[in-house]
Symmetry: C2
Subunit: 355 residues, 2 copies
């Protein structure tokens, strides 16, 4: 009861009426067209069980764009909706009855949180996860999507023994880079497929510096002699991770071991996953999908999610996980960023930085 | 020891030196060209732990043809090889040390048994399963492939609640007919996809008389209004059984429920299984294969295999399982049968009858 009485009084002394600056939309469409920067007056008294947070950094993920376009399976619960699904924030006010969160805590919101492209938000205590303050904001801001996807796909579909291997396409994707790093840390060999490109040697060197064992282009993957040489050195992959689809996914599955599993988590080629029947029947391979958003919703307060977040933060603090290339932008830069994304003019991940 | 001494003596009095008549092949190729009818002199003394059987009936399965062609993953251990992988036989002699098999028993051989297109064979006691004598030979002869495949696919991939549903293509295939009948017995609703054909109404009536809830052609499956009407009456299928592949398999998966499983056990269209990425990621559907031969080898002496065989035999004895259309042939008719099969001139399953 004392806390209940004290909290509003304490808050009254702070900057309570500050308005949030946010990117919101009233209807689905092209983000550059439908997003608007808005100012939202925050409530004077924080509801029971809620906290007010100040965002530190929030990335722009492909799923955020698809959500605004209305083509993602997750829809905002109502309009106007604040965009963005991921970020890191600091708790600056707490409502009555809040038990596990304190002012000054660094938190990440639930995947279902409504909007992270905002300077401030009021969230239920149940929808936030407190993380280690020592982890840097850039990593924390993108923790729940890319590193978590890589972590779960390595943990949940095959019990790897050290020395076993996986094959992944999109080796240079945001998730792919974390797969390489986590696999290296956990003693799993990786065959990483990338697209042919002008600066291939540079990319190969970069991925190998992160821990990639083999880096092959899509064309090299189709050459038996190259793959046979690799598979003379390591066992056939027990797991294939696919974010491309189409011909390249089929090429990957041909090297997957008997009883192996291909996990599809993206479809960058916009082509389906095509499986020769014999791989299903005679090689007993399994083809499944992985959607981080679903997993997080179903396991939000589970011990395995807490363990994953702690483990990933700890690895980052120990400097064992590098981030993909990032371009920091201010909220006011949103329109240019959206235009560049829609034109494909980006080779870095955009992250809004709020302070 | 008494048994050991007595058995050879008993056998000596019977028809021990009778030769087997069998269809064998020396090398892979077109069955009509490489098969030969041969006479094999049987050994005078049956080896320890072995039994001599007289075949009663043995079917010609597509896998038998593929095995002779050399395109099946199971190869004979040596040449000359006796063809055929399934059948029912009567035990006519037993070697010393045989414990669980008696003269007069009706048995089915293991899937890995080398050759059932023969009048007689000597088999290890370990490689035979004694079945109920009351089950008819035609059903018993094909028990281990088609009814068993249907049984396992209904049991092993989704725990059906009564009233739940499945969709299958090849509704009129040998396995499909058993799926319809077993599903009906177990309270599972079935949507059965068949190819357009002149006598469609007749086929529809036949499948419904076996227990099919819905019979749709491949074209009807692509019509939203037809499928919406069906799915207003029953829940979305939790399981899809696919023996066709290609466009039809993809059409089936579009009606599969979230978290549903498609099991591929054949590829009659010779086209791959094509999965739109969203079904894997957002609908969390699973795509796997089923190969009865592998299951039988891995579970040969398991209680669940014994239970399945007993249950299927009992259903047959109670006249609850009908057989697909069968054409009985003598061993001497083999060449014509093989030629008809290779030309596709068959609308019934051939079964060799030996007595």
């Amino acid at each position: 009861m004392i806390q209940h009485l004290l909290v509003p009084r304490t808050l009254f002394l702070t900057n309570i009426r500050r308005a949030s600056q946010a990117l919101a939309y009233d209807n689905f469409g092209d983000p550059a067209a439908v997003l608007k920067k808005v100012s939202i007056q925050n409530e004077r008294v924080i509801k029971n069980g809620h906290v007010m947070v100040k965002y530190l950094a929030s990335p722009i993920n492909p799923a955020d764009i698809n959500t605004i376009q209305g083509v993602y399976p997750v829809k905002p619960s109502s309009f106007p909706a604040i965009a963005g699904n991921e970020g890191v924030a600091e708790v600056i006010r707490i409502g009555s009855g809040v038990k596990n969160v304190q002012i000054g805590d660094k938190i990440i919101p639930a995947a279902k949180a409504s909007g992270t492209w905002t300077t401030h938000a009021i969230l239920s205590e149940k929808d936030v996860t407190v993380i280690d303050k020592n982890v840097d904001n850039l990593f924390a801001a993108q923790l729940t999507v890319n590193p978590s996807t890589a972590y779960r796909m390595l943990k949940d579909f095959h019990k790897f023994e050290p020395g076993e291997s996986l094959i992944q396409n999109g080796g240079n994707s945001a998730v792919g880079l974390f797969v390489i790093q986590l696999a290296k840390l956990w003693g799993i060999k990786t065959i990483n497929v990338v697209r042919e490109r002008p600066n291939l040697d540079e990319l190969r060197d970069h991925l190998k510096s992160l821990g990639a064992d083999y880096v092959v282009t899509e064309e090299e993957l189709r050459k038996r002699e190259i793959m046979e040489q690799i598979l003379a050195e390591i066992p056939k992959p027990k797991l294939a991770l696919n974010c491309v689809g189409g011909q390249n996914a089929t090429d990957c599955m041909r090297y997957l071991s008997d009883n192996g599993t291909m996990v599809t988590y993206g479809g960058m080629s916009r082509k389906p996953v095509v499986i020769p029947t014999g791989l299903l029947i005679f090689k007993n391979q399994k083809y499944i999908g992985y959607w981080m958003t679903r997993w997080s919703q179903e396991n939000f307060n589970s011990s395995q999610r807490i363990k994953m977040i702690e483990e990933l933060c700890q690895l980052r603090i120990e400097d064992k996980l590098k981030l993909p290339k990032i371009e920091l932008i201010r909220l006011d830069d949103w329109k240019e960023a959206m235009e560049n994304i829609s034109k494909g003019f980006t080779n870095a991940k955009y992250v809004f930085k709020f302070d």
